[in-house]
Symmetry: C3
Subunit: 363 residues, 3 copies
């Protein structure tokens, strides 16, 4: 059965200014070019507003002041915020099993609260606790002693290691790994990396050296309202827990290494790699493919631009770029220097014969 | 039982020029140094042709014009194309179950056509359709309403989200995620990134800001003949579908974000990250670890070289490099400027005392 | 029941110098600030030694010569090595099933030696061999003909492709893929990449071109004592096997492509991507997010610094940085040139009017 909403119902949710040309029922959302006469067209950008002219839509969500006349509009101050609210009307959550599926393997010592959904082929180990309303869709693994809060949603193929603590309302996407072993090793004698730091080279004989694994006795703590992307990995701590702060969002294929402490409401975009023992302040944005060396701190409200490599700690409210990363202003200056140098080289070549002549004349 | 082919059978497949020194049966393929007397040695490069001298091989696949005399050769115009055809003779497909395995969990509303293989621990949700000859090896998840074409091969651990549409002959490798939630959020008020774009800094108090998830009501469409690598992730669209065009090949650990439209016959190499709402033309090559900012377009037949970061749209047939990416020629010029500058600095230091003297003399 | 050790028992394991102020029982390990009176505080860095002043710890592991008096210390030459030994005392291995779990699907032709643990939902295909003491925790897939040595530990969600050979004591973390298809394709006629290499551009019409998959008849060999990180991917070889040498450690989300030969005791940090047919010597360190072009060789004891892109082979004991990578010293010189150029441009502008005047005077 198709969901259907009146324009007034829609506007009651988003609190905009409704300029009604014709009364219609809204049964779907789409960009203008894909709209029909029961669609609320989402015309959030200038391009999409322009596309309304070629659209079959009879109603559109538009930014405040768009001032269209021949079509019903709802004008809002912050269109993406309004769109978010509307998308919830048309969103279908994944299929979840009522209770514990027959194919799931749940250890008898596990404490499973009411309203928990444990789907097909889910494995829940001993001493696990799962609180009310949490849903493990399918093929999820939860290691011994893990504690999971209320109303979480774990998509298929998620793996949760031993003793991981997860708060409330946490969403973990397909195939993500929380609580795998930290990548932590030690050699009996000096390693090549230690040699390079000390003497600037890897001269010496390292051929008999053995590498030992440092076991991780720490685990991972994921605070409330965190989201973790598909196939992302968050490793357990060596002694203490790796911590992801409340409200932080982590995109697909991100790597957070052992011992890191990530603040609240951070945005960590796809394929970012954070090495061991980093501290990241609140509301830090790490753009796509950023790398961070180990033991580096990033102050709150900082932005690290895409593909940058942060090798040294940076203060709060920094905006940095480059590999190695530098303040964005410095980077822009460096690029200008390179342009200037190009010009200068041409100029210099012009003067060079005269300069040579002058040099000669002085000798 | 070992497969065995006569030299004429082999040559009939690849259509080369057979120079037969001795008639043998071919039971395997290998590089020259690992060959024995029932091997067709693959000597595609000059190095491998050289290695034939030290090989036990009695027959070799070689490029046209190699002109070897003491060994049976098949000369071909395009050796890798010939190798591809021969490898098919010796390839063993993964073990698949006949029909639906007892441990699989298939919703009664799912429509499974004849000749479909559904292996151990596979989960198929309601209203799924799977067409003839498709094979889900093991531990695969297919979300509600997904539609899968004919003759697809999904390797173990693949996760397919709700309403994903997949064409014919699609191969998805181990652990890949198709149709996880897009990484899409909105704040009630201005975020640090919005502030940085507007005012160039993150000055201000963002501490009370809440982040809301924008649900993805779009899904993913994968057209015919696409291949997706192990642990790669392709996210669902916000309103429309994310689309991967016919024949496009996507390597391991690649990230394709929400709303992207990828053209036909593209090659997207390992660890590439494409941010939301990008448009990629036909036959575009994104080399390893390339990153693309959101809302960027790449024209057909373009090549983005490895590790580049594409921040602005580029026309068809571009070849770009660098982070941020620029035309390859510009990058080469920039590198030359840097070399020249080094030389210039030395030269300038030579003239500087005289220039200073000259300046003084003019005062 | 809490494990508890005397100070002498602890010191017997790590062989340090015990300066006993008070005799206590050690029940846990932690950093100084989280310690209580039954903790051995781990004060390995200067910062942590400083933190002992604010700690409730009555005993600490410290580097040799720390010279603390009011607290029991064990001084050691190489604190991380000592820490590694102590962490083993407090480490709990993951929960494993005794024998073969009822939900596992094991082909009757598979040879499973004694003491092997096959957990819930594990799939083992035909002709697989698994040697003594190896543990497959849960949701693991092992393809036909794979051979796995003694005392391995495969975490949940690991996927092992057909004919993969794995040595002894190998640890594979959550979601890792070993033996997926190589990313190897060929076109009937010249591809855009071939054109670009030959003519420097992608001019021409490639629109009718078909792409063919080159099947992988090679597999993967993982030697003894290797560790592979969560969601990492190691692809099968085209004809020969991809090989990972003894003792090599591979971090999360790393990509090792088809045909690569990786030496012994290498450290390959998170998100590194190695393209096809590379040779990597023994004890090579590839730092985070490094990329390597195909067919590139790296000599033994080399270090490739984070985010570098290695496009050409490099000799043993190299230390390289940058994209494209160059010797670290050259990179430092290049950065200095850029700084000097900035200064030079200012200077040059100072002289320019006089130079122009001089040029005029000579005309």
């Amino acid at each position: 059965m198709t969901k259907s909403y009146s324009l007034d119902e829609i506007n009651a949710i988003i609190g905009g200014i409704l300029n009604k040309v014709e009364d219609i029922k809204i049964e779907k959302l789409s960009p203008p070019l894909l709209a029909d006469d029961s669609t609320l067209a989402l015309a959030l950008s200038e391009e999409e507003i322009h596309n309304l002219q070629m659209s079959d839509a009879k109603a559109a969500l538009v930014p405040f002041g768009a001032g269209l006349e021949h079509i019903t509009t709802i004008e809002v101050e912050r269109p993406r915020l309004a769109m978010m609210k509307l998308l919830h009307l048309f969103y279908t959550p994944p299929q979840t099993h009522h209770g514990i599926h027959a194919s799931a393997v749940v250890d008898p010592t596990a404490v499973i609260e009411e309203g928990v959904s444990i789907g097909p082929n889910v494995v829940v180990c001993r001493n696990v606790k799962i609180a009310k309303g949490t849903k493990l869709v399918a093929n999820v693994y939860v290691g011994q002693g893990a504690q999971i809060g209320c109303n979480c949603l774990f998509h298929p193929g998620v793996n949760i290691g031993d003793a991981v603590k997860i708060g409330n309302n946490v969403i973990i996407n397909q195939g993500a790994s929380v609580g795998a072993d930290g990548f932590s090793f030690v050699t009996e004698t000096q390693s090549t990396v230690e040699a390079a730091k000390e003497q600037g080279s890897t001269d010496g004989d390292f051929s008999t050296q053995k590498i030992y694994k440092i076991p991780s006795i720490g685990s991972v703590e994921i605070k409330d309202d965190v989201e973790i992307g598909a196939n992302a990995t968050i490793d357990r701590g060596t002694v203490e827990n790796t911590i992801i702060g409340k409200g932080t969002k982590i995109d697909n294929l991100v790597m957070i290494a052992h011992n890191c402490k990530v603040g609240e409401n951070c945005m960590i975009i796809s394929q970012v790699g954070v090495a061991g023992s980093c501290n990241i302040g609140d509301r830090v944005v790490l753009a796509g493919q950023v790398g961070m060396a180990d033991h580096v701190n990033i102050g709150a409200d900082s932005i690290v631009m895409a593909q940058s490599g942060v090798s040294k700690s940076i203060p709060a409210k920094s905006i940095v770029f480059g590999s190695p990363a530098m303040p964005r202003k410095e980077y822009i200056k460096q690029m200008k220097t390179l342009k200037d140098a190009e010009f200068l080289i041409k100029e210099f070549k012009k003067y060079k014969p005269l300069l040579d002549q002058f040099v000669e004349s002085q000798e």
